[in-house]
Amino acid sequence: MASTFETVADIIADTSDIPRDQITPESHAIDDLGVDSLAFLDIAFAIDKAFGIKLPLEQWTQEVNEGKVPAEQYFVLKNLSARIDELVAAKG
């Protein structure tokens, strides 16, 4: 079974035309991969469907904008994968 990171990386490659081998756990979706906000919505939709969750993008955006959480917590892919795992676990 593919790891969460591998599934996320495949989704980003499929939706954003980014070569799969350029996507690593350390990649920052925006700063390193150049994913824009619209492309991130496509990625979020694919992640929501793949994992049966709802990424709390509005809450994350607010936390980053208010300086409560560094953007890396949500947009570096190893961290994003960890957040997804937490959401999947919380769903029971």
């Binding site: 919505l41 496509d42 939709f45 929501d48 990424l55 709390p56 993008l57 509005e58 809450q59």
Partner: protein, 153 residues
């Protein structure tokens, strides 16, 4: 339908909150300056306006489901297919169903049929943003005008 004013929905025939779907009816106008160019002597409803029509039906659906808390703005058009032509006077049945409610966005499947025949269909994504000043009241009034009635509103 008043194409020049982007009034694409004549009336909402069904708003099914539990089923997360909406059906609307419109009639392509007999005359419009749009048809002078699209195409001279051969009037056809442009695909871009059919897409706008599907987007508006989807938008009213989302507005109703969210009870006008956010304004849906069209963000992407996927899998759009234009399967047949329609021209002046054609009756349209526009249906939209919400297939996903994300955080700050929503996705619909939508289609237009005329005389039982599918004209076009697409999957649309909307970004959901706070209403710009004054727009909420206008959208509520516009929705009421075309028959979008919410229970317990």
């Amino acid at each position: 339908m008043r194409l020049e004013y982007f009034q694409m929905i004549d009336r909402v025939a069904l708003f099914d909150e539990a089923g997360e779907r909406l059906e609307a009816h419109s009639t392509v106008p007999l005359e419009s300056p749009v048809f002078e160019g699209h195409f001279p002597g051969h009037p056809l409803m442009p695909g871009v306006l059919l897409t706008e029509t599907m987007a508006q039906a989807s938008g009213y659906l989302i507005l109703g489901l969210l009870r006008f808390t956010h304004m849906p703005f069209l963000a992407s058009v996927e899998k759009a297919k234009f399967r047949s032509f329609v021209g002046p006077g054609a009756p349209l049945v526009i249906s939209a169903a919400r297939v996903h409610q994300g955080s700050g966005y929503a996705v619909t499947r939508t289609k237009i049929a005329s005389d039982g025949k599918t004209i076009c269909d697409a999957e649309l994504m909307f970004r959901l943003l706070p209403f710009p000043d004054g727009l909420s009241a206008q959208m509520r009034a516009q929705a009421a005008d075309i028959g979008l009635v919410l229970e317990n509103a």
